[in-house]
C-alpha cells in the first residue's frame, strides 16, 4: 500500500477528468499493495479502467435513502461507470430528497417492485437492521448483486440464511464495513504483518458518544409502514424490534477490524450492558462492556457508551513492540528511538530547573500512560474512509460478474460477533460462537 500519494481524493476534480483521475489513483492504490493476497476484496479494483460504452455501465438501485443511504448515493454519483436507475424508500421525504439528486431515476416505496425492474444489476441496502435479511434474500432470489450495510443481519439465523443464499448464487455480495477499504487500516495491517508491533496480544476498542442518539421526528403519529409510529421508524436504532443498538450499529465496525486483524472469529464472549443514563423509553442499552475470547488466547475488549465522549472512538491493536490506533491512524512504538543526545541534555537541564522534586509521590507514576505522539500510519490528508473506494469495488465486481472473495466471511464474522455480544448481555452468561455456522 502506498502512502498518501496514492489515496483517492475526489474533491478537486469534476466530470470526465474526475473519472479518469479517480481510476488512475485507484489503480495505483490497488496494484501497489503488498498485501493483496490478504485483501481479496481489493481484486475488483485492479480491473481495467471503465470505458464510456453502455456495456461498461452498472445499473444500481438504492434501497433506503436515509442518512447512510444518502452518503452512498453521493459516493455512487461520483463513481465511474455507475448509473443509479432506481431509488426506494417508504418514507416519502427521504425518497423525494434522493430523487432530487438523481435525474431520471425511478422511485419506489416497495423494494420488491424495484427488484422486478428489468436491467437492474444490483442493489444497495441501507435500511434498518431488521430488514437486511429479507431484502438480501429477495435480491439474491431476483438475481441481483447485493451491497448490504452493516451489520449483516438481525439474528444469527438470518446471517446464516444470507450466507447460504449467497453461496452458489454466483452474485457479488459486499458488506458496508468501509474499513476494509481504508488506506489507514490497510497500512495498519501491513505493519502488523511485518511484525512492527509483534504478535497481537490484545485488542481494545471503544466507541463513546455523548448524546441521546435520537433523530428529530417531524410529525409523530400513525405510520402506514411496518413501524407502529414515525418515532419508531426514524429512531429504529433505539428499539429491539428493529436493531440491537450499540452492538450492531457501532461495535460491528470494530469487531470486523478485530476479526480481520486476528484472522479468526472469537470462540466466545461475555459482557454486561444496561440503560443507566438515557432512561427515555428506549429499549437498547446505552452502555455495553464485553470481552471476546479467541482460540489463540487473545482477547478483544470492547466498550461503548453514549453519556460521555471524552475518549471518543478508537481501536487499539497492541503487541509487545507497539500499539496501533486505527481511528487516529498512529503507531506508538513501545521503545521509540531515543531523542538526539543534545535534546536529551537540554531536556535534562530543563527538568533540573523547572521540575518539582517530589518528597513523596505515587509509586505507579512510571506506569501511567506514556505521553507520546507516535508516528502517522499514512501521511497527508485522507479524503476517504473507504466508503468511496468500496463503491468502486462493488461496481467493478459487478462489471466483472465475479463474487468478491472473503467478503461474506468478513460480514458473517462481524455480524455474528455482535449478536453473540448482545445475547451475552441479555442472558448474562458466556456465549459461544455458534457451532456449525457455515460461511
Amino acid at each position: 500500500m502506498e502512502s498518501n500519494s496514492s489515496t483517492v481524493s475526489t474533491s478537486e476534480l469534476s466530470g470526465r477528468e474526475h473519472r479518469r483521475e479517480f481510476l488512475k489513483r485507484l489503480a495505483v492504490v490497488a496494484s501497489s499493495s503488498a498485501l493483496l493476497a490478504d485483501l481479496p476484496w481489493w481484486t475488483p479494483l485492479r480491473a481495467a479502467p471503465v470505458g464510456d460504452s453502455p456495456a461498461d455501465r452498472v445499473r444500481l438501485g438504492l434501497i433506503g435513502v436515509g442518512t447512510r443511504g444518502n452518503l452512498h448515493l453521493d459516493n455512487l454519483l461520483r463513481t465511474p461507470g455507475v448509473e443509479i436507475s432506481t431509488l426506494c424508500d417508504d418514507y416519502p421525504p427521504h425518497l423525494d430528497a434522493g430523487l432530487a439528486k438523481v435525474k431520471g431515476a425511478k422511485g419506489f416505496a416497495d423494494y420488491r417492485q424495484m427488484l422486478e425492474m428489468p436491467g437492474l444489476d444490483g442493489v444497495l441496502i441501507a435500511t434498518p437492521l431488521f430488514l437486511h435479511a429479507r431484502m438480501c434474500l429477495d435480491a439474491f432470489a431476483a438475481g441481483k448483486h447485493v451491497f448490504c450495510e452493516k451489520s449483516l443481519a438481525y439474528s444469527i439465523e438470518e446471517c446464516q440464511a444470507i450466507a447460504d443464499a449467497h453461496r452458489g448464487s454466483g452474485k457479488v455480495f459486499q458488506i458496508g464495513h468501509q474499513r476494509l477499504f481504508s488506506p489507514v487500516f490497510l497500512r495498519a495491517l501491513e505493519y502488523v504483518r511485518d511484525g512492527r508491533i509483534g504478535q497481537i496480544t490484545q485488542i481494545r476498542a471503544y466507541w463513546h458518544r455523548n448524546g441521546n442518539w435520537r433523530r428529530p421526528v417531524p410529525n409523530p403519529g400513525p405510520d402506514p409502514s411496518p413501524f407502529p409510529s414515525l418515532e419508531r421508524r426514524l429512531n429504529w436504532r433505539l428499539y429491539l424490534d428493529y436493531s440491537r443498538g450499540l452492538m450492531t450499529e457501532l461495535a460491528s465496525h470494530h469487531m470486523q477490524v478485530a476479526n480481520w486483524f486476528l484472522g479468526a472469529h472469537p470462540v466466545s464472549c461475555a459482557g454486561y450492558g444496561s440503560i443507566n443514563y438515557w432512561k427515555d423509553g428506549r429499549e437498547v442499552y446505552d452502555n455495553v462492556n464485553l470481552v471476546y475470547r479467541y482460540a489463540n488466547g487473545t482477547q478483544v475488549v470492547y466498550d461503548s457508551l453514549i453519556s460521555n465522549r471524552y475518549y471518543g472512538c478508537e481501536i487499539q491493536i497492541m503487541g509487545p513492540k507497539g500499539t496501533i490506533e486505527g481511528e487516529v491512524g498512529r503507531l506508538y512504538a513501545e521503545n521509540p528511538p531515543p531523542a538526539p543526545g543534545i535534546v536529551q541534555l537540554i531536556n535534562g537541564i530543563e527538568r533540573g530547573f523547572f521540575d518539582v522534586v517530589p518528597i513523596s509521590g505515587p509509586s505507579w507514576v512510571p506506569e501511567l500512560k506514556k505521553d507520546t505522539k507516535g508516528s502517522l500510519l499514512v501521511h497527508g490528508a485522507i479524503s476517504d474512509d473507504g466508503s468511496m473506494i468500496s463503491m468502486a469495488a462493488f461496481a467493478n465486481a459487478i462489471r466483472s460478474d465475479k463474487p468478491i472473495p472473503g467478503m461474506m466471511e468478513q460480514a458473517c464474522r462481524a455480524g455474528v460477533c455482535v449478536l453473540m455480544g448482545q445475547a451475552s448481555m441479555e442472558q448474562q452468561r458466556e456465549i459461544a460462537w455458534p457451532e456449525g455456522f457455515r460461511i
Binding site: 538526539p340 543526545g341 536529551q344
Partner: protein
C-alpha cells in the same frame, strides 16, 4: 543625531566571538553524544539545534559584555 559607526574590525571581532560560541555548542553536542551514547551523525543532523545553542551562548556572552562595559564605564567615570 550621531551616526553609529560599525568598523570592519568590530564586525570581525563579533564574528570571531560567534564562531567561538558555535564551537562551544559543538562541544556541548559532542559531550551529549558521548554522555547519552547516541550516534555521531547527530553532529550533522542536529546542526540546527547546535546553531540555536550557539545563538543562545552568543546572547549570554553579549549580556555579560554589556554588563562588563557598564561596570567599566561607571568606575572610570567615578575615578574621573
Amino acid at each position: 543625531m550621531n551616526d553609529i559607526v560599525i568598523t570592519g574590525r568590530r564586525i570581525v571581532r563579533e564574528l570571531l566571538i560567534f564562531a567561538g560560541c558555535f564551537v562551544s555548542a559543538l562541544g556541548v553536542n559532542t559531550f551529549a553524544i558521548i554522555r547519552f551514547r547516541t550516534e555521531w551523525k547527530e553532529l550533522i543532523t542536529t546542526l540546527h539545534i547546535t546553531l540555536a545553542v550557539a545563538v543562545l551562548f552568543f546572547a549570554v556572552a553579549a549580556f555579560l559584555r554589556v554588563l562588563v562595559f557598564c561596570c567599566k564605564h561607571f568606575t572610570s567615570r567615578r575615578a574621573a
